[in-house]
Symmetry: C2
Subunit: 471 residues, 2 copies
């Protein structure tokens, strides 16, 4: 059982740290983007370096005090907000935001965990490189949180998720020891993969303090198109044709349902799809080409082939990088439109690619049977990752559906599980999905997870109650 | 302490398995490719399905009997050969070699762990896809071993290593339970990354029984060139230029020292470099292009640019796919030539790319100070992975250097560690490098590894003495 971060503990801890290291949390440290959870804490620790993180963790381990690590606070599953239990210590990495080194000739950057994603991207760009983790929250999320939650985003199809972009980690383990694994190596088979165990563990097995990240050379030319397709099956066939033509040069392939554009028209009328008629489904395809290739020509050829095959009925090719940015802004505005409309239930799911079309049909029918609801389904089709969000009928309030929320989520997740999918594709488990994980997770994996947690964090101090139920 | 797989235990185990499941091991089950280690075993188990593997593991756990899992037996660090300790049970996956399913439209294949790598490649090819793990041993290694050791090879630069090509696993954990994680998903953030923990654990945390693997579409056109370069620094600059021109379409980038070609001339005179004068260093660059691109034109343009910049002094462009295969055969023959010459010590190392040139110079000087020795340095330069092998002077036998072997390896590994490199880039730890890992590994990581091992395999039955010293 944990002890609270009470005044006596905080006074002892303060004595071991430089002045100003412990403070009262601000409201931003105690909530999450959708405003649905309110955290609690004894204090906020703001370490300046890895040694201070280690000292804090060691003190918490000795006193059996829980720690909630904080990145940018943009997570959508409550991993950063502890609402109940003995008062924890919040530990924000925000002061540890330096770029420790950049090695353009190696395509590597070393950054501290508190660096904001957009700053990592900017540092890479200044060195003629690109850090290809693209998230809507990149202006405020921090790289430590991106790694702890194995963030995904819109370029996973080409570059992989946060896990795939990480070469090495420095982390403070739950006993206060420091794992010095900040390697700049592409290959390193020296023992168990502690790096990947910490990535995606959402701060429950240790605190990531710095990372060695992969950079890439920016493509020589980029382009994008919006293409109107009949249905998800046609979108998938289009993806196959794009990859047959262009292989790894297809950077993004996003699917959007007309409901999303209807929400945009209602909440942000300045954001408009460049089609005369709103299609049922729209795809945003993004290319990053090599020297001498012409994005417009490649996109036109793809459009012609797909139109000939009856896959696309309309299309708009970006005529400039500015227009490409507009296309992406359209896509990136959909989550904000969703927030303004107010979802009853949101689902971050993934499916085997060949199960998607059937899932969309079956889930639509099942949701229809539950009541008068609207569905906005969009996402990273190339990765099989859909955001399947359910909304009130027009003119009704989400509160009117409070009784239905559990059944909606259960309906969606049951269909996902039956199709061999995942109930959390990129957002993680946090505290929101602990019960879902218990219900849908593989029993042997869950037992192994509990054993791993007990082995590395025997007192359960690291982000208590996230991912796994607190003992 | 473990018990031996004695007659009483084997009789009990046989009673729970179909006839023919337990047999005496053949010589191939008790040795390794270099013939330097001789294993021992109570018996060989040949399970036909996952349930039988689970029954065997549960019986061993109950009786505290060690298990050595076997794939194709091609590992180079003794992970498959237990020379001492209580007689273990060998468990070969060779009867579990089915393709369970192939999903070309998803770019996924499901295979059992005993499938030979070349058979996985052939199954992918028959479906119009490619499984891009390319190893010299692909005709005999098995995919379970490839994953257990996180195999690398010659296409890691583009496609990643075995870890990066695996979407999901089925595995029997040390308590005999089955982890059903055979997902066909690109994104799945539901809890700790058990998949990556098992990959690279060399059979010490469980037995991989099946895998869900990524496939890719084969490139529309392929080509290769051999280019003579001054030194590793020039080779790296050439790589940077190739990637600036072609981004992810550079599939392989191999570096070879003239010593390797001298060994070829001595042992396989039919394999000849197509240059009039033997250069100090040669690069094999391999491209996989998209539709409409011409390999010869791209390679010529790269050669012209590199020659203009003074990076390459000679070159041969493959004029056909057959000639490309010849170039690769040249590269792939070097390990066999090395075996025929007989290395005193082999090192599978990786370095940060920008440390390679200095390492090669310093290591060459340090080895020169140790005695009259020859060095053959070659490898996957794009990944920073060198095979740095040390040989007797011409006319001398390797046995004459037995007293020097430890010092040679210590010298090489000390330089690698000082440069932030790895003492095992792609071969793993096995039993050969357990002491090296203890010497060079991060102490916090080693403690965490021991805790993870104890948590998942409390009796230490899984591949005892591999990766971590047996208790």
């Amino acid at each position: 059982m944990l002890n609270p971060a009470d005044d006596a503990f905080l006074a002892r801890l303060a004595g071991r740290l430089p002045p100003g290291s412990l403070t009262a949390p601000e409201p931003r440290h105690l909530t999450e983007p959708r405003g649905r959870r309110q955290g609690q804490a004894g204090a906020l620790a703001l370490p300046r370096d890895t040694a201070e993180v280690a000292a804090i963790v060691a003190a918490c381990a000795a006193a059996r005090v829980g720690i909630v690590p904080l990145g940018g606070g943009t997570g959508l599953v409550g991993g950063q907000v502890m609402e109940t239990g003995p008062l924890p210590l919040l530990l924000s990495l925000e002061r540890m935001n330096r770029v420790r080194g950049i090695f353009p000739e190696e395509n590597v950057i070393l950054v501290e965990a508190g660096a904001i994603l957009a700053e990592v991207q900017a540092a890479a760009e200044a060195a003629g490189r690109m850090f290809p983790l693209w998230l809507a929250s990149e202006g405020s999320c921090r790289i430590g949180g991106n790694l702890a939650s194995n963030a995904g985003g819109t370029a996973v199809l080409r570059y992989g998720n946060a896990r795939d972009l990480c070469l090495g980690l420095e982390a403070v383990l739950p006993d206060g020891s420091v794992f010095h694994g900040l390697k700049r190596l592409r290959k390193d088979n020296t023992g168990y993969d502690l790096r990947n165990l910490l990535i995606g563990a959402e701060g429950t097995l240790g605190i990531i303090t710095a990372a060695s990240l992969k950079l890439v050379r920016p493509p020589a030319a980029e382009g994008a198109a919006l293409l109107a397709v009949r249905d998800p099956a046609a979108a998938l066939e289009l993806l196959g044709r794009a990859q047959r033509r262009l292989g790894p040069l297809v950077t993004g392939f996003e699917l959007m349902h007309r409901q999303g554009f209807a929400f945009l028209a209602e909440t942000m009328p300045e954001r408009r799809l460049p089609f005369a008629d709103l299609p049922d489904w729209t795809v945003l395809v993004d290319l990053g080409l090599t020297e001498g290739m012409d994005p417009a020509a490649e996109l036109e050829a793809l459009f012609a082939e797909a139109a000939e095959a009856g896959l696309v009925s309309d299309g708009a090719l970006a005529q400039s990088l500015a227009q490409r940015a507009d296309f992406w802004a359209l896509r990136e505005s959909i989550p904000e439109a969703n927030r303004r409309i107010g979802a009853i239930a949101s689902h971050d799911i993934s499916l085997p690619l060949s199960e998607i079309a059937r899932f969309v049909t079956e889930a639509g029918a099942a949701i229809g049977r539950l009541g008068d609801l609207r569905v906005n389904c969009f996402g990273h089709l190339g990765d099989g990752n859909l955001h399947y969000n359910v909304f009130p009928a027009a003119g009704r309030r989400r509160e009117a559906y409070d009784d239905l929320r559990g059944e909606i989520t259960r309906t969606v997740h049951d269909l996902v599980a039956a199709a061999g999918g995942s109930i959390s594709a990129e957002h993680g488990i946090g505290r929101l999905k602990v019960e879902d994980l218990e219900r849908y997770g593989d029993p042997a994996k869950l037992r192994a997870m509990r054993a791993l947690k007990a082995a590395l964090d025997p007192f359960g101090i690291m982000n208590p109650g996230a991912v796994l139920r607190a003992e």
